[in-house]
């Protein structure tokens, strides 16, 4: 125990501090401080990003929305813009923790923590979000799936931080669906979660994007299921094939929250719920 917690006032200060020694970055602290409390990590220096990332939390651009990495789950869930453009994201943010936690926990922290059960990741994967990372040498942008490497591991380099998330707007009439299965509703890590956006034209699926959480080391976008469903009607008839395809795309583990077989069944069952919804 015993760490320094510094609150740099701007990017320049942050980059200088980052260059000096090892560090952990801090946003809401709801993952980082729990890890410290449980003795999983033992940092010497923590750098608080709160003042570094300036500008509006949410920006409405013509064909996209930009979200600051330090936007909290409460801010996403309560935003009329997010509820209108990306109800899936609003719903997934609303499902995280309780009020106090949502006031603290940021979307950037949810992403960078890279948990396979992170709730906003479900929505960000389905919505084809891209991330902007910044360092003293400039910035780079990459799709969310390239950023997340494995549980707890990202492509974030030394001296870099996640600045913002950009999501292209969906045009036309989309439906969405979010499902999180856990042992209790509040404050639980899910056994399986699923997000999904869908656009139908003349009763046939024109665009469909599905994401599953907690059934593989990363969030899964089952391409084969999406491709199979495109152009078809969303009825019970497509279920057997879609379910088989899905089973091949996921590789859940068994842990204290549920067995691999149980998780597979929950995932398949979520797909059924979509058809019935």
């Amino acid at each position: 125990m015993g760490f320094e917690l510094l609150v740099p006032e701007n990017k320049d200060e942050l980059f200088t501090l980052m260059a000096e020694s090892n560090y952990y970055l801090l946003a809401g602290g709801t993952d980082l401080f729990v890890k410290i409390e449980k003795d999983l990590i033992n940092p010497d220096r923590i750098l608080d990003l709160t003042n570094v990332i300036e500008g509006p939390k949410l920006e409405d651009k013509a064909d996209k929305v930009r979200i600051s990495a330090t936007a909290t789950h409460g801010e996403l869930a309560g935003s009329p813009l997010i509820n209108r453009e990306f109800p899936l994201l609003a719903e997934s943010a609303e499902s995280v923790g309780g009020v106090q936690l949502r006031n603290m926990a940021t979307v950037g922290g949810n992403i960078c923590n890279a948990s396979p059960s992170a709730d906003t990741l479900i929505a960000l994967y389905a919505l084809d979000a891209s991330l902007k990372l910044e360092s003293r040498n400039g910035s780079r942008t990459l799709p969310i799936d390239e950023f997340i490497k494995s549980p707890g591991e990202t492509d974030l380099g030394r001296g870099e931080f996640l600045k913002s998330i950009t999501i292209p707007k969906l045009s036309g009439n989309y439906r969405h669906f979010f499902n999180k299965v856990g042992r209790r509703n509040a404050l639980d890590i899910s056994v399986c979660s699923m997000g999904f956006v869908l656009k139908e034209t003349d009763g046939k699926i024109e665009d469909i994007r599905i994401s599953f959480g907690a059934v593989a080391p990363k969030i899964v976008r089952p391409d084969s299921v999406e491709n199979y469903l495109k152009g078809k009607k969303l009825t019970r008839k497509v279920l057997p094939e879609a379910k088989d395809l899905l089973k091949n795309e996921i590789s859940p583990i068994s842990d204290i929250r549920g067995s691999a077989e149980y998780r597979k069944q929950v995932a398949v069952r979520s797909l059924e719920e979509v058809v019935n919804s």
Binding site: E4, L5, L6, G29, T30, E37, V99, Q100, L187
Partner: protein
């Protein structure tokens, strides 16, 4: 490090270690023992305080993060020896049994009533899902928040955080 905070309307300037949790600062340095530690890892809500008008968990907050902020704890609610209407409502409905969870429920309940003095029971239940009570079975806590909203509405009062 040196930090300045306003707690329950009073300004404090203190030298603290940067790894001092806000809950320890409030309880031990300022003597505000109404802030309770149940779990220490964000799961029970008993350590809830208001930071700049929003409920936060003081067990997952470190003192340097609140430099310059305004904090409110359960001790800051009474006025001239009179309980706050939400505190009164907890007494009236029997929403307090052992009382350990009560400050947390009251602080988070205040944030709800500040936004909406007429929440439905379902809205109240959803709002307090981050708080755990081992005694009351929750319904009397929901009653208390509902009753406080009703009284405040009838008296034409608002909650300011």
């Amino acid at each position: 490090m040196n930090i300045k905070v306003t707690v329950n309307g009073e300004e404090y300037e203190r030298e603290v270690r940067p790894d001092r949790r806000l809950i320890d600062f409030l309880r031990e340095d300022l003597g505000l023992t109404g802030v309770k530690e149940g779990c220490g890892v964000g799961e029970c809500g008993s350590c809830t305080v208001l930071i700049d008008g929003e409920s936060h968990l003081s067990c997952l907050t470190y003192t340097p993060q609140v430099n310059g902020s305004e904090i409110k704890t359960i001790e800051g609610l009474e006025e001239d020896g009179q309980l706050h209407p939400l505190q009164e409502a907890f007494v009236e409905t029997g929403g307090v049994q052992c009382g350990f969870c009560t400050p947390g429920f009251i602080m988070v309940g205040l944030e709800l009533l500040e936004k909406n003095l007429n929440p439905s029971r379902q809205e109240i239940r959803k709002w307090i899902e981050g708080n755990i009570c081992r005694c009351t079975g929750y319904s009397k806590i929901v009653d208390a928040i509902e009753l406080a909203g009703k009284k405040l509405r009838e008296e034409g009062k608002k909650i300011e955080l």
